[in-house]
Symmetry: C2
Subunit: 340 residues, 2 copies
């Protein structure tokens, strides 16, 4: 290969990288903005906190396309620092210009940990939540920004996060296992011996992110952890855990737990809750599903108790591991660890 | 880390690999067997070719779970060699046993190119088709097996493959671009400047595999290539190409081409066709979509003409590249290359 050819090749790779970078960004951001629960709850929370924001300085951590920063200016902020580490920051600059807010919103491309601001801020807004709250989350960055840049008595949006768990009977997954028992009727070939392999596949130790159907949730969800975002420390995030107790609604084959979160915004009248519960309107976070090795039969009022623990994966601190120790009715205590 | 710990770690990795290997296999195979068009067409083709199969020796290339081999024994084969390179072969052995055919079906784990059979075969059956027919396809392996193991005058199932192209107006994709124009109405933030980025994302040079809605197909599909599987050579597969001419049904914004295939089984009465056309029942192959850089308006009877070429990617021979040179009505000739 000649030098010129090599050069062209390199350029192509670079272009591709840039291309896919912007590709990924804009697609993901469209999904997030189209998530009405997410975007409307943030919008209402910001507008209802107009009293705290009007004439004040705001920091938007992980600003993405800058949509929350625009909401803050609409709520009366005199200045917004919109920090974004990814290339989407370039598009945030365009959005800010298009909304004639370039005198008020300063988009800063960089990591919040290394960015220098000319002043402390009155309000810190951030949409930092990942799957199962903490997967690939930026919460550590938000806490860093809080400790470094938020004035004493400053406002955090949102201000608390809660984690919930509920026992689930995922019928689709059971149908996928049972599929192998139906092949003989469909095609005249007995493939029932593969049902055990299918069960082993279902009972993976990978966290699955998917929508849990309301009718598959077997009890009222139990809250097992709460984070006060004004107080919580990076140290405390190394393990977030708590106990739970649920009582099942009726007869079913419990084959999974689902874990989800809410975050709450303090507002002058009543708090606003952004919920990712399977009982609420679907969000792009869906729910995290933890499949058991085998289904367990429950009846009405079977007690399902245990402890859940979330911690960063040993291999990659941005990835989450969830461990559940659980007891179903009279069955003996079980334990299973999951990662995403 | 102690030696014992290292060892345990290694074992875990190996287990995971084995685990995920079987995981991938059984999930993919469930999807393929559940594809009624695929499985029923193969089943009917094998049963209708009972005259060629009864008392004969069959080779099943890429046997998977062994379902086609079982069909062949049901059609009267006295012996089936079921060759499978992946670990799913172990499950094929179990399926064969469960159907009491271990005296007739010999599952051989290995690459067909290196396997040694004790005899030549009368019939070669294989489900070798990939996305856009040739992506990650095993056709080269089938041709190798044909040349090495099929007796002169032996039967190939299927015996021909055809490739088709049709102009498409993908409305979902246009909606995704237009989404950015709707944000202002929804949330009061003008994000229309991101529509051009979204368009660039849509107009990716990656092949997309997805279901094309019947109402989005803009003309009768045009056949641009046919492979006679008795005659075609590996050499000829280095580039499969042909010309096409379509006339559009009515006014629409042409923003993509879709490419799909059929394979045909000779049968005593009339041939059986396994079609992946958007006008037929959906299969797991869906269609391959090639998005243009910008939509082109067409009206009734606009001529869409051009040439399509499929060839293995330079980087990975198992991956496919598709190049389309096309002219829409009076517009000038365009050209775009895609890879999967």
């Amino acid at each position: 290969m000649s030098h010129a050819e090599k050069k062209r090749k390199l350029d192509k790779t670079q272009q591709e990288r840039l291309y896919f970078d912007s590709y990924t960004d804009v697609t993901i951001h469209a999904e997030m903005i189209a998530d009405r629960v997410r975007t409307n709850t943030y919008r209402m929370a910001i507008l209802k906190n107009g009293e705290s924001i009007r004439g004040k300085v705001v920091l938007d951590v992980g600003a993405g396309t800058g949509v929350l920063s625009v909401f803050c200016v609409q709520a009366g902020a005199k200045k917004v620092y919109a920090i974004e580490a990814c290339s989407i920051a370039e598009h945030a600059v365009r959005v800010v210009k298009q909304n004639q807010m370039d005198d008020k919103i300063e988009v800063i491309r960089g990591m919040v940990e290394s960015v220098e601001l000319p002043e402390k801020v009155d309000v810190l807004v951030s949409e930092w939540m990942g799957y199962a709250l903490l997967h690939e989350s930026m919460l550590n960055s938000v806490l860093h920004a809080r400790d470094r840049w938020l004035k004493p008595g400053g406002v955090l949006l949102p201000s608390t996060a809660e984690l919930y768990i509920a026992p689930v009977s995922d019928r689709v997954v059971e149908d996928n296992v049972r599929f192998w028992l139906t092949v003989k009727d469909q095609y005249g070939v007995d493939m029932s011996c593969l049902a055990d392999v299918a069960r082993a596949c279902v009972a993976s130790s990978e966290l699955t992110v998917d929508t849990v159907a309301v009718e598959d949730v077997l009890s009222h969800p139990a809250r097992f952890a709460e984070l006060d975002l004004y107080e919580v420390t990076a140290e405390a995030l190394r393990e977030v855990k708590g106990t739970f107790r649920c009582e099942t609604f009726g007869s079913a084959a419990l084959n999974a737990f689902c874990v989800y979160f809410t975050v709450t915004f303090s507002c002058p009248e009543s708090p606003l809750v952004l919920s990712t519960s399977p009982f609420q309107e679907e969000t792009h976070w869906k729910q995290a599903l933890l499949y058991l090795d085998a289904p367990v039969d429950v009846v009405q009022d079977t007690a399902v108790t245990g402890e859940v623990s979330l911690r960063p994966s040993a291999e990659n601190a941005r990835e989450i591991c969830i461990r559940v120790d659980y007891t179903v009715g009279e069955h003996k205590r079980q334990s299973k660890a999951f990662s995403l």
